[in-house]
Symmetry: C2
Subunit: 132 residues, 2 copies
DNA sequence: CTGAGTGCAAACGTTTTGCACTTGC
DNA sequence: GCAAGTGCAAAACGTTTGCACTCAG
């Protein structure tokens, strides 16, 4: 995907800082603020942490990116894609996306709890293929 | 459950501060640090925030309590119970526990990702029975 | 009696803010 | 040209630490 188009679709101006952020985020798939700052600085050494935070917040608000909260780790951020769950390796910390049919599961939860389910947030942690 | 026994089973000394914390946490089911501090202060006005944090951390380490990370909300804490998923209401912010059979779901995720799954963290958000 | 727990104040790391300057559109 | 974005320094925020005192076991 083209990041300029992506930004414009979310009503955000295209700046070199934003393009760098999206490029680094896309490279890593899932990245913490700290790692993102280091990564963006390599290509764009003048960027400030304040700008990074402002842009992360702007992109979260328009849902261009999403936050992934993981137990015992700092939050990571990803470019918003089709709905999926997250697999996290407790050894190497890698995060993998997994598309899975959740309809049966969600309707059961919905029925049992009497909640109308709008969002699904699933993180399974353990050991990835390489680390086990 | 008796909180004195619960603390002793987790090799933590029994203090009135800890009993207050557990009592407030149990009353609310799921509570943020901020709300917990306010709630504990009512019964135990001399408690300090430092003590609250030290105890939360001690109890997390022994897994007497668990953290629940929820998107767009502050973390909440609960006394550790049997495995369950969380239903969160986006309107009233209430959190409900739900016990559900996850084995089919987990084995599918495991098979597809080649991960060995050790922990399952599921938060479904939407509207509770009262709020819809 | 002794180590663990408490409360205070200071320190810390992370995130946000205000402001002058620059840039995208 | 003007609103929006940037970078800096300062402030705010939540959390942790060091230390003297107290208490549970």
């Amino acid at each position: 995907m083209n990041y300029e188009t992506l930004l414009r679709e979310h009503h955000l101006k295209v700046t070199p800082q934003r393009l760098s952020i999206l490029s680094s985020m896309s490279d890593k798939g899932h990245i913490s603020i700290e790692d993102l700052f280091a990564s963006v600085k390599k290509k764009f050494s003048s960027i400030s942490l304040a700008t990074l935070y402002k842009n992360i917040n702007a992109m979260l608000e328009t849902a261009l990116i999403s936050e992934v909260k993981i137990l015992n780790m700092k939050s990571k951020y990803e470019i918003t894609k089709a709905k999926h769950i997250h697999m996290v390796c407790q050894s190497c910390q890698e995060v993998m996306d997994l598309e899975l049919d959740l309809s049966a599961f969600v309707s059961k939860a919905s029925e049992k709890s009497h909640y109308t389910v709008k969002e699904v947030d699933i993180v399974l942690s353990g050991l990835c293929e390489k680390c086990q």
